[in-house]
Amino acid sequence: MSYFEFLNEHGITLLLGTVTTVKVLVCSMFLYVIISMIFGLMRLSKNYVIQGIATVYIEFFRGTSLLVQLFWAYYVLPFFGISLEAFTAGVVALGLNFGAYGAEIVRAGILAVPKGQWEAAHALNFTPAKRIKRIIIPQIFPIILPPAANLTVELLKATALVALVTVVDLTFEAKQINSITWLSAQCFGTALLIYYIIARFALVPFLRWLEVLAARKVGKERI
């Protein structure tokens, strides 16, 4: 069978899988960004309890494998009476895992804001909340976005794992087609290509655009 015949027959299925992959990516991206912000700030708290909770969370999720967490969320949580749908379990596991990595990026970003900024905000009598919101947060974006962009590409790659907990995404469809037709080169090759196209021509340009935007916001025209 030629490659065009293959695409003709299975292209739609792969495309539908791609839509699911993008959905998983977008949902887990939102989740991980929020989690990283919260835990990154918690990690810098002066309160030992809050800091401890954040540290335990980060070390736990960075210390174990994503696949283990994913299977745990899908196959073990029902033992405790929490049954998550495959899609939800996948998004939650991805969000929690990448949130742990992201929290470290946020923490490093906040620490990288010059001390004078904190002191100036203090001198102007800003409340602690306003200090964080108006002075510190806007300045951390140009610092954290480049490493966060790398992490987000890693996230896209990691979404492939949700296929193993029965989410019908691109990887799942490719595997399925492979088991029916045994045209391994075509189906896995196409899947690889689609992931590459998403990463190279959609995700990365989008993240670069965000970086430029963030840099412009704080008055740095060029990064």
Binding site: S65, W72, L156, A158, K175, F188, G189, L192, V204
Partner: protein, 225 residues
């Protein structure tokens, strides 16, 4: 089915899990060794004077880095036999991990080489050292400490990605847990044990890498707060 944690079951499957843990460590070690060498080749491709080779090298690295390891595993495992190359799951897994992380390690090497000050090169030039001598005695000894933390991080990274090998049937820890869980229809203990084993191995490893990073920074006179 009995709910809650069962200690007798945990003890029963412990020997099996312990053996599988050794397999996981072996897989991570071999995969890492291959990745270290593959990384050197990618580095070589990056630093050759030929623009075309540079470009091809960069595109290959980009492609491997932006596609999932899981599908790469499937690709190698299922496609090679179509071309008459039948390799065991172990070999396929090691090749794929080596290639995938080799691209990352080449970046670590590159960063380390660029971390060596340009004036070092100029000084060697002025002293009329050969290129090989410059690399061997001046540049590499300075670049290596810079590369250590990154190299350590990817060792931990490979270790945490070894469970993916279970999908093509490599009998490592996660594979054993799935098998045991399926056989007894109890997933709570096996999967939790995998998590605990991973934690007990990777947290000390990560701490060791962090300490190494601090030592390197101190040895180079860069004080980090």
């Amino acid at each position: 089915m009995e709910m809650g944690w069962r200690w007798d079951f945990t003890v029963e499957i412990l020997p099996q899990m312990a053996i599988a843990t050794l397999n996981t460590i072996l897989a991570a070690g071999v995969g890492y060794a291959i990745a270290l060498i593959v990384g050197l080749f990618f580095l070589l491709g990056q630093r050759t004077p030929s623009k075309i080779v540079n470009w091809i090298n960069r595109e290959i690295v980009e492609f491997i880095r932006s596609t999932p390891l899981l599908i790469q595993l499937f690709f190698v495992y299922f496609v090679l036999p179509q071309f008459g190359i039948t390799l065991s799951a172990w070999v396929c897994g090691m090749i794929t991990i080596g290639l995938h992380f080799g691209t990352y390690l080449s970046e670590v090497y590159r960063g380390a080489l660029e971390g060596v000050s340009k004036t070092q090169w100029e000084a060697c030039r002025a002293l009329n050292f050969s290129t090989i001598y410059t690399y061997r005695r001046i540049v590499l000894p300075q670049a290596f400490p810079i590369a250590i933390p990154g190299m350590g991080n990817y060792l931990v990274g490979i270790f945490k990605d070894t469970p993916l090998l279970s999908t093509i049937g490599v009998a490592e820890l996660f594979h054993a847990a799935t098998a045991v869980g399926g056989y007894n229809y109890r997933y709570l203990e096996p999967y939790t044990m995998v998590g605990v084993i991973f934690l007990t191995l990777s947290i000390p490893a990560a701490m060791w890498v962090r300490k190494l990073e601090k030592d390197v920074n101190k040895a180079q006179g860069k004080v980090k707060k």
